[in-house]
Subunit: 138 residues, 2 copies
């Protein structure tokens, strides 16, 4: 299993598919927490992007503690996956509304994100991997 500090082109390809990711953050008491999430990736593999909203557990946890983990396994092939440890290096508000619409296109084939709540402020958690484990990607 090749280890690296960024995603390979095969890992990027996996994350560009509409594969569900699992996102782990750390609670205030130090215990881990996981959420299934949509995921995006910068084309060079240097950052993973997760779009959430202010006030959510993921946002609160990563504001306090930027250490996270992300796992993406091909839903059709459990031997093809990328597992990442990294840090949230930025909470991005600019463009986060457009970004969640793009995620809705990717995952739902819909032009607009259908679950938006009127009062929510979307935020992109920009994650820089420092340990990447990939299996079966090419």
């Amino acid at each position: 299993m090749p280890k690296s500090d960024k995603l390979s082109s095969g890992g990027v390809k996996l994350l560009q598919e509409p594969q569900l990711a699992q996102f782990a953050t750390v609670m205030a008491d130090g215990a881990p927490q996981i959420t299934p999430v949509w995921v995006d990736v910068e084309a060079d593999g240097s950052h993973i992007l997760i779009n959430t909203a202010e006030g959510r557990l993921k946002t609160k946890n990563t504001s306090r503690n930027p250490d996270v983990a992300v796992s993406v396994v091909d839903a059709q092939n459990p031997w093809r996956y990328a597992v990442v440890r990294g840090k949230v290096v930025e909470h991005v508000h600019e463009g986060a509304d457009d970004h969640i619409d793009r995620m809705a296109q990717k995952y739902l084939g819909q032009e607009k994100y259908p679950f938006r709540r009127p009062d929510e402020q979307r935020v992109i958690l920009r994650i820089r991997p420092h340990h990447v484990l990939e299996q079966g990607v090419e």
Copy 2:
């Protein structure tokens, strides 16, 4: 999303299927780590079982810090899932070899676990959930 401190019968059913789980533990430095794993569940939903080996990261991390999270999403239906926060209450060695063979039957349809290493000691991490979030299970 109903919250509970144990899996519902629908959640148990999901984990009895050969669905891949994602298992989060905490590293020595407090950062989270995720691994895709096979998963088993006690029929009453009170404990989740993950079979690993001594010396592995999962075993070392949970020996130091029993706080874990487990996420199981139906590979065919991302809206059907169980997400759990809990504690490893026991590291079970007795029966762990038979148990990994049963897991190989469940996930691979093979009578014997084919990846066993001659020098490895299998161990079951017995996890007691304290926060359970289920969606779309019945």
